[in-house]
């Protein structure tokens, strides 16, 4: 195992995450599919981008009927991506660059091709017989909703071999594991140990609300599920020193997600699903209420816990956590082509969702990097990659990374027809226009702007750890907030509107202080008792560090000469 990056147990609170699919990033062996050797070769790019931790989508052996979320062997790497040795080399090289790595882990279910399921269905006397949720009837747990409503009509599927129904909250080829069985819990812990022993920095745990089923409930967020998760956390903390992170995928309302942090003894982090669609709504409505409102409804977290924020990911832009009225508005605003809708979501990437409007792309990234939580950047969004809604399922947002204007976007030396998915070639987002090589050479490119924003985010721990206080200027198109951590105060001002806006901020509590714009180091006029007047260009944003006057900055009288 390599030497893992140093740092304390709560390193994730200051980290910027980067979500990447092995198959999509770089093909190292020329077979048309990205792999670990390719990803390893591109680690310097990620280091240069300034991210701290990579989140690797499922990399395990799988029939790939759900892009790897149908795992057939938890202990091996999918052959197209490489071997466990390749993974180890990748992990060591990442650690050598100070980058951490977490990997997706599907805890709720396996592929129906998994040997556990095959043994379970074929031999009721086998040790695996009770590894899955079997029933003689499909009438149990009727209050549980069907999640993939476009593909599945029910959560039960009849297995002709065992002659019984098995439970699945997702696709029929993904039978749910039976977490009431202690052997399943022990087996899953062994899976985690297998990767943690190799130095992995943690897991993004997929679909955690559904681990346990109980009659008369909707089978989500049950106390028994939380008990299982707390057991896992306790064991991992005890055996691995407490700095491996567990990130929950729980697409639920904030008060339900809050339970997944427990008393600081369950998950370290969880995605803030409801925030993300409301960011888009706020920008489309040119009105701050949706964002302020969802934070008002967001409960406080235990000290060690942290939200994970994202603008886009490998799934559709999920609208599960919005009201029907909000959902209709979102479809109207962002997905007028019916092809763009999928399940309860929109399958677009960031740039096309925003009509490739550079100002709005920057604004949303400003929000991502300054609202409370640790941000996740989805691969390719840092250069404004496009999507292809005509590819099936969610493949449209999982196309090859666009490295250069060369053949196959510099992603692979394979014949074009062998690529796992075609590269984006449309005139606006195509790889000839949008690629890393071109943007690296252009100082004002989105890529270089992202680097500057991520670097600026490192200048204060208040970005990752600070409390938030929303300001309430009369102009509803301005979203302004203070982030406070220790003696560090940040003032963030965002113009949600596509037109220039004035704003008067009540900053009396900071009278005498001077806002210093972080990216340009420009000193703005000092704050006084009167309203602080700013004007912002269309979708403009300011990140200010609040500099206190000499007296306020030097409470002890030793500061200027301490060294």
């Amino acid at each position: 195992m390599s030497r893992r990056p140093s740092g304390g147990r709560d390193w994730y609170k200051d980290a910027v995450f980067y979500e990447v699919h092995v198959k999509a990033f770089k093909d190292g062996n020329g077979d048309g599919i990205g792999d670990f050797s390719g990803l390893t070769a591109r680690l310097d790019y990620l280091k240069d981008l300034g991210v701290d931790c990579l989140w690797i989508l499922p990399m395990y052996a799988s029939p790939l009927r759900d892009d790897g979320y149908d795992i057939a062997d938890f202990h091996s790497i999918h052959p197209a991506y490489g071997t466990v040795e390749d993974f180890q080399k990748f992990l060591d090289e990442a650690h050598a660059r100070g980058l951490r790595v977490i990997a997706d882990l599907v805890m709720n279910h396996t592929s129906s091709a998994h040997p556990w399921f095959q043994a379970s269905r074929s031999d009721p006397a086998s040790p695996y017989a009770d590894y899955y949720v079997w029933s003689d009837t499909d009438q149990r747990y009727r209050e549980a909703r069907v999640i993939f409503i476009d593909a599945e009509k029910t959560n039960w599927t009849f297995d002709p071999i065992r002659k019984a129904y098995y439970w699945h909250r997702f696709f029929g080829h993904q039978p749910d594991l039976n977490y009431d069985n202690p052997a399943v819990r022990a087996a899953m812990l062994d899976v985690m140990r297998f990767w943690l022993d190799r130095g992995l920095d943690g897991f993004r745990c997929d679909a955690v609300p559904y681990l346990v089923e109980r009659e008369g409930t909707n089978c989500e967020n049950l106390p028994e599920t939380h008990a299982v998760l707390r057991e896992f956390r306790r064991v991992i903390d005890h055996e691995y020193g407490g700095d491996r992170v567990l990130l929950a995928e729980a697409n639920q309302w904030p008060e339900d997600v809050r339970q997944y942090f427990g008393d600081g003894d369950e998950f370290h982090m969880a995605f803030h699903f409801p925030l993300m669609p409301r960011i888009y709504m706020a920008v489309r409505l040119e009105e701050r209420l949706p964002i302020v409102d969802i934070f008002t409804q967001t409960p406080a977290l235990p000290p060690s816990a942290q939200w994970c924020l994202f603008l886009r990911n490998h799934d559709e832009l999920t609208l599960e956590m919005v009201t029907n009225e909000e959902r209709a508005f979102m479809y109207y605003a962002y997905a007028q082509d019916p092809e763009m809708k999928l399940n309860l979501g929109i399958r677009r990437r960031l740039a096309p969702l925003l009509d490739n409007d550079r100002r709005r792309i920057e604004l949303l990234n400003s929000l991502l990097l300054t609202l409370p939580g640790s941000p996740i950047v989805y691969y390719g969004d840092e250069i404004g990659m496009g999507d292809n809604v005509h590819l099936g399922d969610r493949d449209g947002v999982r196309t090859p990374m666009q490295w250069s204007p060369d053949r196959n976007a510099g992603f692979s030396a394979a014949d074009e027809s062998k690529l796992y998915l075609p590269v984006i070639t449309d005139p606006v987002h195509g790889y000839q226009t949008v690629n890393v090589a071109a943007q690296a050479r252009t100082p004002s490119s989105l890529l270089n702007t992202m680097k500057r924003l991520i670097a600026a985010r490192r200048s204060s721990p208040a970005f990752g750890r600070g409390a938030i206080e929303f300001l309430r200027p009369r102009n509803q198109r301005i979203l302004a907030y203070l982030r406070q951590h220790g003696r560090d105060t940040l003032l963030i001002v965002n113009n949600l509107a596509g037109s220039s806006q004035p704003v008067e901020l009540d900053l009396r509590a900071l009278a005498g202080c001077t806002p210093v714009e972080i990216l340009g180091q420009s000193r703005f006029p000092p704050i006084r008792e009167t309203p602080y007047v700013l004007s912002l260009g269309p979708h403009g944003y300011y990140w200010f560090r609040i500099e206190r006057p000499d007296g306020g900055d030097e409470p002890y009288g030793i500061e200027r000469t301490a060294i």
Binding site: R487, G520, R523, Y541, R545, D553, G557, E559
Partner: protein
């Protein structure tokens, strides 16, 4: 929003500038970042100092800039009145956004460029100054450069004359720690300025472990290498050091995290410098110690004690992870109710700092937070120092600081036994 700043175009290629210069015997290096307000005074001191003390010696002023947006390099070139080389060095955006305690984003990169230029100009002496220190006089050039010029020293480190309440971070943490590590009683290890010989430059430029990445490590590594490899290290008494900067951080936690973080990093990466060192020796000095200046402002020991108490309230859970149980127990039982009577024993203080060094080494807590969580303890120690030296003179203050250094040195075994 504002853009990242409209930096002026880069200076002409370094190679062509150097080709136009004859070899120089003295190179004065000046790293800068938005110092337009102070560089004229610094340039004038350099010009006068060289004319007064090294009249017939060829010299050049080499500016290495981090991307100033106030035309610092242009102003310097106009004011210098001597051969000037203008160079740029890499400065991470994060350090330009929040300028470190020493005032120069990417200082290590600046030093690397300077070392390289000085060597290419075949300089016998490289003198490094700070662009925002306005109290620099012509005498500083003489005192820093002369021991090297006369081949007595390979590295000359500055000692500024300070009021007893100035430099508390240096006096109570950095200097005792560096003394313990390197076995030399270096009084101000982060003095900013220094002079270095060609002999030592050749050595460090060829050194396989010369830092090529990272931040704020080069100054200490240079000193460590010079001492470990038997070069002559001297100190030069300079006058008071007045800094006029609008960009240097004055946030104590940040200053502590950066300066002590640099020492801890050197401890981690260059353990061969210090693990086998025992005892310490004073350094040869040049120049006279002037009368210390009056206090610059009002020191508030009451606020320091308040901060210590807040730390006791809020940070004990973090300290539990860092401090040895017996150290924490003794810290928690300190009587810090009153400024007049507060005390912080030197031996306990040495254990506190060593426990933090060990915690940093073993990565028990996020390193930035570890370093920042030392601040209340440092303020408690400083309050006790202020209390015990309130009515002492210079000699008494020196004696108190010597006791701190001696306590660190005496406890070194505590550190080395727990290091591996």
């Amino acid at each position: 929003m504002t853009d990242a700043g409209q930096a002026p175009p880069p200076p002409p290629e370094l190679d062509s500038q150097l080709a136009a210069l004859v070899p120089c015997e003295i190179v004065v290096g000046l790293p800068t970042y938005n110092n337009a307000g102070t560089v004229p005074a610094v340039a004038a001191a350099v010009r006068v100092g060289l004319a007064a003390h090294f009249a017939d010696v060829s010299a050049a002023l080499v500016n290495v800039d981090a991307g100033s947006m106030d035309q610092t390099p242009e102003l310097l070139a106009a004011e210098a009145g001597m051969s000037v080389v203008l160079a740029r060095h890499e400065a991470p955006s994060v350090e330009r956004a929040a300028v470190p305690f020493h005032g120069v984003p990417g200082r290590d990169a600046a030093l690397r460029v300077l070392f390289d230029v000085a060597r290419r100009l075949n300089a016998r002496v490289l003198v490094l100054l700070e662009a925002d220190v306005t109290s620099v006089t012509e005498a500083w050039i003489e005192r820093l450069a002369r021991p090297v010029w006369e081949a007595k020293a390979d590295l000359v480190s500055p000692v500024y004359v300070r009021h007893r309440h100035e430099g508390t971070m240096t006096n109570l943490i950095l200097a005792p720690l560096v003394r313990t590590l390197f076995g030399r009683r270096l009084r101000q290890p982060f003095g900013g300025a220094f002079a270095v010989s060609r002999h030592l430059l050749d050595h460090v430029l060829a050194h396989p472990l010369r830092p090529t990445t990272g931040r704020d490590r080069m100054d200490l590594w240079l000193t460590g290498t010079a001492i470990a490899d038997g070069f002559a290290v001297w100190e030069a008494w300079l006058g008071p050091r007045h800094v006029e900067s609008r960009t240097r951080t004055t946030d104590l936690p940040t200053m502590l995290a950066q300066s002590l973080g640099a020492v801890f990093t050197v401890m981690d990466r260059d353990a061969e410098f210090w693990l086998g060192v025992t005892g310490s020796e004073p350094l040869s000095t040049v120049g006279e110690r002037a009368r210390p200046p009056a206090a610059l402002g009002t020191v508030s020991a009451e606020r320091m004690i308040d901060a210590f108490r807040r730390g006791m309230r809020d940070l004990v859970e973090v300290w539990e992870l860092i401090l040895a149980p017996e150290t924490l127990g003794r810290v928690l039982s300190l009587d810090m109710r009153d400024v007049a009577t507060c005390r912080f024993p030197d031996r306990l203080w040495a254990h506190v700092v060593f426990d933090f060094a060990l915690g940093h080494h073993h990565g028990v807590v996020h390193r930035e937070h570890l370093l920042r969580s030392l601040v209340p303890l440092y303020l408690g120690r400083t309050a006790a120092f202020v209390a015990t030296t309130q009515s002492t003179d210079e000699v008494g203050t020196d004696a108190a600081l010597e006791r701190v250094g001696a306590a660190f040195e005496a406890q070194k075994l505590y550190l080395t036994e727990r290091w591996r």
